[in-house]
């Protein structure tokens, strides 16, 4: 017995342990998740700058890869008016381009005062124009061949660099092969701080002609046109886009050497250099710690909620398991009590029989009176045992639906009077009265109905004080039901027990049921009523008495 009790206590401990463990897990998971989120956000702060860079230099790359090589498509046929159109389209699409200088170059084998000459090959600017937002029409032309030697050194600088590179290339070029990408970049692009110079790429045939011009003595040649253009750009006019506003508070373009002198420890920053012509500058990205913390919290929130949800589900499952265990434990206790009571119930008559037996054996001879007395005792106790056993048996039968209803027409008045008479003999002080209203005949199994009456009358007797042993039975028809009311003046049932009294093996702990009770009576009644497709209910006031109300289905009997 002790072990059983311990078993249930152990279960409770398990539940507690479980709860504690999952709570610890929750805390650990929360901490881990928060730390990981923080690390992740901090990593992103460093790594996502590449994406920002891409966004920012996208137009620059587009200019470099697509718009500038477009110059080649014109095959040197650009002049001041077509360049103007080209330049305007550049200024609209690429606002970071400030100024474009266009060198309308000519290649021939004729000597010239301006430009470059190697062997017989000369390249010179025929005209130089500049375009830009702040360039007026008058200041557009920087140089024209009709005014030789007027080209300023500064203006000629980019042209000369390009011309030198190109001339060197012509001298060593392999004209039997197509240009490769390396040559295209190295020869025809010149990328310097804040400016790109580009020269239109000649066709293969042109390269061959140029090479011949340089290395062979030939009659005066035609003029071959090449276009050279310099794009002056302002990095600060690059449009700074922030594809990650959640990470970066401020993004600015700064010179490469810039370092923040701010002493604000709250501010964290990272930087990345710009490519190509802007390589003297970098993107400087910064955020305050609290700004990042916000982002971390924002990202941590759904994780935390998820964890809490899992935790909640686990706790719920634990509760449900615990509840099941609890019910089982109560059931176990009831069964245990029942066995206890039953043993007790059986013990009393058995010991009385044993004493009577002993007395009969030990006495030399029995008087008639004694013989009657012992006979009566043995008879009574045997009846008690029999009754107890019958009850147990029939309850089990009822519960298992093992008996069959044998319905017959019952004359209620006769039926009640018989029972009352029987009780009057048994308990002469028990005042039972019966009122039958409006019905006489009722079709039911008389054995079952009798058991029902017996149980309820027994209960009424048992739970009434000795001076108030009264029971009033009312039978009446209400619509399609026959209602039986058993009203006593007994001790009553506490309100909180009302739900339990119909449960198997349940007994109210009280001084009145110390003996002769197994806690089956009302449960048996309920089973019986259910079996007869009826219902049972109870009303009670503590100290004043109880009223059991049974409703059974009633069929109007035909007169035959």
């Amino acid at each position: 017995m002790k072990e059983q009790i311990q078993l249930y206590r152990k279960n409770f401990a398990l539940v507690v342990t479980f709860l504690v463990l999952i709570s610890i897990s929750l805390v650990v998971a929360m901490l881990l998740a928060y730390n990981l989120t923080r690390k992740y956000v901090e990593n992103e702060f460093v790594s996502q700058k590449i994406e920002v860079l891409e966004e920012v230099v996208n137009p620059y790359n587009d200019l470099f890869q697509n718009k500038i090589p477009e110059i080649s498509f014109y095959q040197g046929f650009l002049d001041s008016s077509s360049v103007k159109k080209y330049a305007d389209s550049v200024f609209i699409k690429y606002p970071f381009v400030d100024r474009i200088v266009f060198y309308d170059a000519a290649i021939s084998n004729l000597p010239h005062s301006d430009g470059l000459r190697v062997n017989n090959f000369s390249i010179r600017p025929k005209a130089v124009y500049q375009f830009g937002k702040n360039v007026t029409k008058d200041s557009s032309a920087l140089f024209k061949k009709s005014f030789p030697n007027s080209l300023s050194l500064q203006t000629a600088d980019e042209f000369n660099k390009m011309a030198v590179k190109f001339t060197g290339f012509i001298k060593s070029a392999d004209t039997t092969k197509a240009l490769n990408d390396d040559d295209r970049y190295n020869i025809f692009y010149s990328v310097n701080a804040n400016r790109i110079t580009y020269m239109s790429i000649p066709r293969r045939e042109d390269l061959r002609i140029f090479k011949d011009l340089m290395l062979k003595k030939q009659p005066p040649s035609l003029q071959y046109e090449q276009d050279i253009m310099t794009f002056y750009m302002d990095p600060f006019k690059l449009k700074v886009l922030n594809p990650h506003p959640e990470l970066y508070q401020h993004i600015i373009i700064k010179p490469l050497v810039y370092e923040s002198l701010s002493n604000n420890p709250e501010l964290i920053n990272t930087d990345i250099p710009l490519p190509g012509a802007f390589s003297d500058y970098k993107l400087y990205l910064s955020s305050s710690k609290s700004y990042l913390r916000n982002e971390i919290n924002l990202r941590f929130l759904p994780i935390a909620l998820g964890l809490l949800l899992i935790y909640g589900v686990l706790v719920l499952i634990a509760y449900l398991i615990f509840r099941n265990l609890n019910i089982n434990s109560k059931m176990f206790k009831l069964q245990y009590d029942f066995i206890n009571n039953l043993t007790h119930e059986f013990k009393t008559p058995v010991s009385v029989i044993k004493i009577a037996g002993n007395n009969i054996r030990s006495s030399a001879e029995l008087s008639v009176r004694e013989k009657n007395h012992y006979g009566k005792i043995l008879d009574e106790e045997a009846d008690k045992l029999n009754d107890l056993m019958n009850r147990l048996l029939s309850f089990t039968q009822i519960e298992n639906r093992a008996i069959k209803i044998k319905e017959e027409v019952i004359n209620l008045e006769v039926f009640c009077q018989n029972i009352i008479d029987a009780y009057q003999i048994k308990y002469p002080h028990f005042d039972i009265s019966c009122t039958i209203e409006g019905v006489n005949l009722f079709k039911a199994d008389p054995v079952l109905l009798g058991s029902l009456f017996q149980n309820l009358i027994d209960n009424a007797y048992k739970y009434s004080l000795s001076d108030k042993k009264e029971l009033h039975i009312v039978i009446k028809k209400v619509r399609r039901h026959l209602i039986f009311r058993f009203t006593d003046q007994g001790i009553g049932i506490p309100q909180k027990e009302l739900d339990n009294i119909f449960k198997k093996f349940y007994r109210i702990q009280s001084e009145y049921n110390q003996q002769g009770s197994v806690g089956l009576g009302l449960a048996f009644c309920k089973e019986l009523v259910n079996f007869m497709h009826g219902s049972i209910a109870v009303k009670s006031r503590l100290g004043k008495g109880s009223e059991f109300k049974i409703a059974l289905p009633f069929e109007e009997l035909s007169l035959e």
């Binding site: 477009e70 080649s72 498509f73 014109y74 095959q75 046929f77 008016s81 039997t176 197509a178 293969r204």
Partner: protein, 644 residues
């Protein structure tokens, strides 16, 4: 049986997995071989369509005793000679690198020939004896092109050639001995002469000079006289001398003072037209044939939907009718004859038959078959080419040809629109390997002679000037829309494809009529007019001004060039593109094409890009040609079939 053995052997393997996989493999192989067999039955292979002709370019020796032809030897065309009866075949050349591009009989005993050459190679004129001996180089100068002035047999052992040896931009006329290649300069080109003409006796008597816009016909009665100009006209007017008439007149095809070219006789003194010999109200007269014996006009050729002959000589008419009687239901042309005009090379062809070469004996009125052009092509499996006409948006009637895949319902067909190159050219009726190849793959083909095409008169031709991507493109678009309107084509499955100018039109269509085509292919297509105009070679310099007028001047028409050149409009292309390009193509800068393809790729447009390092404009190498058509086949299949 082999498969069966394999299967049996594998069945004895213990491992069940082996058995299963072997069974699967076996059934796959079986299925595959069945499929491929089935396909072979219905589809002529790509290689068959585009293989070199077995024998081609037949010619008869002047004495009529030998027949020469070109035949592939190690996949390159070489010269062979056989006797008229087909015996005694001799191979004269053994070049495995280059094709023979041109040859002719210098005399009864010798053949002169020129080989194909690339722009950075030097052309070479060689001679060889009929028996294959004594192969010798007659002319080979660095950076010098060889233009033949006479292509008949040599007169007094001499022929006339034009060379630009002195100055790469001008061709001087020389008389060359075919024995040793010795040159004698006849006339020094003052710089503006673009064409030389010799009379039947091999005397240099006519020339055309050009200042780029104006052309002048020059004439002299004897070689001792100086050339004198007799008629001058804008290049839009054409006078093509075809021969010398009696009374010192000139036979010429001319559209001076008229729209359509006519066969006329000119007065050689003042250039005035003496008479119109033949003209056609609908189309130009494109050819006129003179007998080399008596210098009499035989017939004039004009081309409506098919080429037609207008006979000017009863004897010739009689002969043609005799041949036609023996070769019914086919077109025929005479491609060669002997000096006595007794034996002729006749070539037949139809739209569904690449044709056959015959030898015709005039006296015996007998035909002797020489060779099929492509004997592996079965005539009945090919598709009919139908002449069509439609009206453009401005109510101009455009002629064209439609080839529908045989055995298919004429409804909702996938189509390939092929604008021809040029644009100063035209599509003609006849066998076209490319068209038949596409039709055999289930595509309808539309070819159209848009404005700017030649053959339909001066006005029609000039209407295409500076209208690249303009009226020309509209005509192509209208043709496509006509296909859709008549429900012949499935509007979801139309491709546009072309070579050279056709490639330009294809890309232009993709750029500016992007919703009309499901995909487009450009074969050596011009993608940039600036580059195209810049590529006029130095020896074409006199024509530059003419080009400027026809195509546009890059300096003054820069905006127009920019607006129509596909290279500036990659952003407008939305459908898959195939580009095939030779690295040495002078009219297209391969760097630009690279850039073009790169930009398309960047914009996630599917691009099939085929670049051949050693090819120029349109691929010459057979392997490259086959590769291109394979790509084209797959490209059309992928992009047209998916829209089904």
């Amino acid at each position: 049986m082999k498969y069966f053995d394999l299967l049996m052997r594998l069945f004895f393997e213990k491992n069940l997995m082996y058995k299963i996989s072997a069974a699967i493999l076996f059934s796959c192989i079986l299925l595959f071989s069945l499929c491929s067999k089935e396909k072979k039955n219905e589809q002529i292979s790509l290689e068959t369509f585009f293989k070199n002709p077995e024998k081609s370019n037949f010619a008869i020796s002047p004495d009529g005793k030998y027949i020469s032809y070109l035949k592939p030897f190690h996949n390159r065309l070489n010269i062979f000679v056989q006797s008229v009866d087909g015996k005694e075949v001799t191979q004269l050349t053994q070049d495995t690198l280059r094709n023979i591009s041109y040859y002719f009989w210098g005399n009864n005993n010798e053949i002169l020939f020129i080989k194909n050459y690339e722009s950075d190679e030097n052309p070479i004129l060689q001679a060889v004896q009929r028996d294959g001996k004594n192969t010798r180089t007659l002319i080979s100068y660095k950076n010098t092109r060889i233009n033949l002035i006479t292509t008949d047999a040599a007169k007094n052992g001499e022929i006339l050639v034009a060379l630009n040896a002195r100055d790469s931009t001008v061709f001087d006329a020389y008389r060359m001995s075919i024995k040793d290649g010795k040159l004698k300069q006849l006339v020094k080109n003052p710089g503006n002469i673009t064409n030389w003409f010799a009379d039947p006796s091999g005397k240099l008597r006519m020339a055309i000079s050009s200042d780029g816009v104006y052309e002048t016909l020059l004439y002299r009665n004897t070689e001792e006289e100086d050339f004198r100009p007799i008629v001058k006209n804008n290049f839009k007017t054409t006078i093509v001398p075809v021969g010398f008439s009696k009374n010192q007149g000139i036979y010429a095809l001319s559209n001076r003072h008229r729209d359509k070219m006519a066969l006329v006789e000119l007065n050689s003194r003042n250039g005035k037209e003496i008479r119109v010999i033949y003209s056609n109200p609908e189309v130009d007269v494109t050819e006129a044939e003179l007998s080399s014996i008596d210098n009499k006009l035989e017939y004039a050729v004009y081309e409506t939907s098919k080429k037609q002959r207008f006979y000017l000589d009863a004897g010739v008419k009689e002969m043609y009718q005799q041949i036609e009687k023996q070769l019914p239901n086919t077109e025929l042309t005479i491609t060669g004859q002997d000096a006595a005009e007794e034996k002729f090379i006749v070539r037949t062809f139809t739209d569904r038959n690449p044709g056959t070469y015959y030898l015709y004996f005039k006296k015996k009125n007998k035909l002797q078959k020489l060779s099929d052009v492509n004997s592996s092509i079965q005539k009945n499996s090919l598709s009919e080419m139908k002449p069509i006409t439609f009206k453009t948006r401005d109510s101009v009637i455009i002629n064209g040809y439609m080839t529908l895949p045989s055995g298919k319902q004429i409804n909702n067909l996938p189509f390939v629109v092929i604008p021809h190159g040029g644009p100063s050219a035209r599509n003609s009726w006849g066998y076209n390997a490319e068209v038949q190849f596409l039709a055999s793959r289930g595509y309808g083909v539309l070819q159209l002679n848009y404005r700017g095409s030649t053959g339909y008169g001066k006005e029609f031709w000039i209407a295409g000037f500076k209208e690249w991507g303009g009226i020309i493109q509209n005509d192509i678009t209208d043709g496509t829309k006509w296909l859709i309107r008549t429900k012949i084509a499935d509007p979801q499955r139309i491709a546009i494809y072309g070579g050279g100018f056709g490639g330009f039109s294809a890309l232009s269509g993709l750029c500016f009529n992007s919703d009309l085509y499901a995909c487009g292919a450009s074969y050596s297509g011009f993608i940039n007019l600036f580059t195209y105009v810049k590529a006029i070679p130095p020896y074409y310099k006199p024509y530059q001004q003419m080009y400027f007028e026809m195509v546009g001047n890059p300096e003054t028409d820069g905006d127009y060039f920019r607006n129509v050149s596909p290279v500036f409009h990659t952003d407008k292309i939305k459908v898959p593109v195939l580009i095939a390009q030779g690295s040495k193509d002078p009219r297209v800068n391969v760097t630009e094409t690279n850039q073009f393809a790169k930009e398309l790729k960047k914009r996630q447009i599917p691009v099939t890009y085929l670049v051949k390092e050693n090819e120029g404009h349109l691929f010459k190498n057979q392997e490259n040609k086959i590769e291109f058509y394979k790509e084209l086949e797959a490209f059309l299949k992928n992009n047209l079939d998916k829209n089904k």
